[in-house]
Each structure stands twice: as C-alpha cells, then as structure tokens.
C-alpha cells in the first residue's frame, strides 16, 4: 500500500478509536516501518499517527523505533517531538513515581520555554490524569491566557469544568470557542447539552431558572441544526428539550417561547429523526455517515416518546 492510502486509513479513524480499530491500525506498523523513508510530509504524519496507535496497543518496541526515526529527522528540541516523547514516557511509565518524574520533566521544559504549547498541553493532560483536577484547570487557564485563540484549549477547559459540574464556567469557555469558530455546529449542540444538564441539576423542577436554562438549551440546539442540515445530535436535543418543556410540571408563566411553537418544534424534530433512522436502517446511500450507536439512541427516543 502507498503512503497516502495508509495515511487515509489513519485519518478515517478518530482520535479516540475503538480498541479493535486501534489493533488493526497498530498491526500496520511493520509494513509502514519497512517502507523506504522518502522524507515527505505524508510519511511523517503517518509515523506520528502510527506512534499513537502503537502506544495505545502497547507495541512499545515499534513505538520506540518510530520515535527514534522522528527525532533523528526533526531533532530532540522540536516542540512536537518533545510532546511525542512525553506521550511515550507517559505510556510506558509503570508506576506513579515515574509519572511524577515525567511531570517534573514537563515542568522543567516549560520553565525554559513557557510558549512550548504541545508540552504545556501534555502537562495539563497528565495533571488531570493524576487527578490533580484543580491544578490542571489553573494550568489550562494560564495557557488560554497565553494563547487565547486556541479553540482546542478552550474546548478542553470547558470539558474539565463540566466534569466538576461548574456549568456556567463550561458555558463561558465554549462561548469563547464560538468566538474563534462561529460555525462550529457541534459546539452549539454541546452548549445545548450543557445547558440541559445544568437545568436538570438545579433540581426543583418548576423554577424560573430551570425554564430559562431549558430555553437557552433549545436555542443552542436550534442554531446547531440551522448551521448543519440533518444534524442527528441537534434534532435529538431539540426533541428531548421540547419534551421537557412540555411537561406539565413546568409552569407556563415562566416561559418566553409560546407553547404552540414548542409543540411545532417537537414534531418537526420527530419527523427529521424518523427520516434519519429509517434512512440509516435501510442502508440508503446518503445516510452512511451517521454513527450507528447514535441512530440506535434516536430510535429508542422515538419509541419511548411518541
């Protein structure tokens, strides 16, 4: 196989592949390592993806060799190579003391060069992995201060806040992402989800605050399907939120969106979800992109709420 077709195989897998996917990709290691090195950007991108795959599956000998070739080519002081070296060290560490050592190394690197973004991200991830969540958050907050146009960091910060149930901070961080990438429809849907979870978390379910959160959630979901036609996640959210808003215990006095409109949105979302579920189940050509687990969830939602 050529470098391009191999690279496409890696590209079609996500950053969080399933174990069987990882295994299949990692087993490509011998054939990739046996290719002659042409020094093309594609080949190095392939090496980088392969390194991550082999580390996931525990093929440390291949990983060592790949890392060696990468650092021979780009040098040990390249920021990206340093981060890859760090990933290798993290993955192969056997106990917490070794992990602390890796963490210390990251700290030393950052002391010399605080703008080494890849290593800063590694340090934050490792802090979070070692359950030092508040330290991870403050380090990430410093990083976004330093580099405020990095959408990935803001998005990660939102995730950390979300895990600690700090919903308003999470929402703020995601809104920062939208300032950088206003068309990111999945972030709109994510904002809908967080607002919905925040509404659920308030508890006493009839209050003004709950209705406000639910309506905010609905608006974010609506924007996400406005930006992306046939967005399964968005329609799923619209159906869930509108069903919640139509529950009798939500008092109508707090609502700003008229009930008739909510009803209409609910049935529109039902129609769209139904189309996607039937299209995907029949294996029609234009529906191959939907995630099967998501389609199954949508089907279940349609069955439980008519």
């Amino acid at each position: 196989m050529s470098v391009t077709s191999l690279l496409n195989r890696f590209k079609s897998a996500s950053a969080n592949p399933t174990p069987s996917e990882s295994l299949a990709l990692s087993q490509l290691a011998p054939s990739i390592l046996n290719l002659t090195i042409t020094d093309s950007p594609e080949q190095w991108a392939l090496y980088e993806s392969l390194l991550l795959s082999t580390l996931r599956t525990g093929d440390d000998t291949s990983a060592r060799l790949i890392l060696q070739r990468l650092s021979d080519r780009f040098g040990n002081d390249n920021a990206r190579i340093m981060a890859l070296q760090g990933i290798y060290d993290e993955a192969t560490a056997t106990n917490n003391a070794q992990l602390e050592e890796v963490l210390k190394n990251y700290g030393d690197v950052l002391k010399d060069d605080p703008t080494n973004i890849p290593v800063a991200k590694r340090r934050i991830t490792l802090l979070h992995h070692l359950s030092k969540k508040s330290e991870a958050i403050s380090a990430l907050a410093t990083l976004v201060d330093l580099n405020p146009t990095d959408a990935e960091s803001w998005s990660q910060l939102a995730q950390y806040y979300f895990e600690l149930s700090m919903y308003s901070q999470a929402i703020f961080s995601l809104e920062e992402v939208l300032l950088i990438l206003p068309n990111a429809y999945n972030i709109h849907a994510r904002l809908g989800e967080i607002n919905y979870v925040a509404a659920e978390a308030i508890g006493n379910s009839a209050g003004k605050e709950v209705v406000e959160k639910l309506e905010a959630s609905l608006k974010w979901y609506l924007r996400s399907v406005e930006l992306c036609d046939g967005y399964l996640r968005g329609y799923y959210g619209i159906k869930t939120v509108t069903a919640k808003l139509l529950e009798s215990k939500i008092s109508a006095s707090h609502r700003t969106i008229p009930e008739e409109k909510v009803n209409k949105l609910n049935s529109a979302a039902t129609v769209q979800l139904h189309d996607i579920v039937t299209g995907s189940e029949k294996g029609k050509k234009g529906f191959a992109g939907y995630d099967l687990a998501e389609v199954a969830a949508a089907k279940e939602l349609l069955e439980t709420t008519p």
Binding site: S14, N16, P118, A151, E152
Partner: protein, 142 residues
Amino acid sequence: MARSLPSKLLIAFSSLLLAHACYSAHEHSLLSTTATTPPTTPSSSSSPSTPGTPTTGSSLPLDITLETLISVSLLLVGIISSGWELKPISLRNYAGGVESGRVLVDGQVKRGGLFGGLEERPGFLDVRKQRKEFTEWMKVQG
C-alpha cells in the same frame, strides 16, 4: 452526470439548429462569392479583387444570425438545466452532507463532522487511559 429527458431533447435540438446555422452561413458565403465574382471579373484573369473573398456589401442575412444566437442560448439553457448535481456552497448543506455521508472529504466518509477535532482534541490525548481501555478489551477478547 445524469441528464433528464427534456434537457437531452433540448440539447439535441439546439445542437441541430446550431449545425444548421453554421451550414447556412457556409453556404451563404459560397453563394455570395460565386454570385458576385463573375459580373465584376468577366475576363477572369486580370482582376484586382481575388476570387473567393466576399465583397464588403454582402453580410450575413438576419435569419442566419438569429438562428445562431437562438441555438446557442437554447444549448446553454439545455446544458445548465440538464440536472447534474451541483456542489453545495452553503455551510448548512455542506456540513449536513458531511454529517450524513452524502459529501465525501478526501474521498471518504468523515467521522465526527467538520469540527470533530474540537471534541476529540488530539493535543490533550490521554494515552494512559486509552492504553488501559485497550488492555481491558484484550482481556475480554481472551
């Protein structure tokens, strides 16, 4: 590219019309040279005007001009309306196409949509967690 029947007919008809217009123009130019050259050059050898070039007075008749213009416009309409699939130019369509798998990115279905990187975040990859998941999966597999 799939073409609908009416536009196919339109393309065929207008092509025929265009070919006819070309043929008429050609015939007309031949006719005008043969019709105008003999009276001006009766002796046929000592003539200042070379035979075969149309005289300035004979221009193309109006019906041939009209036929050409109409056939070209009809041909254009036929080609444009022949129903090939246009590439989506609005984000809503394009993103929706990528999401549902109608639109291929680099020749394959793109998982996670256009902004998937924002939720996968490769820079913050927790490799130890993924490694643990993999070992557990391997144990289950036996």
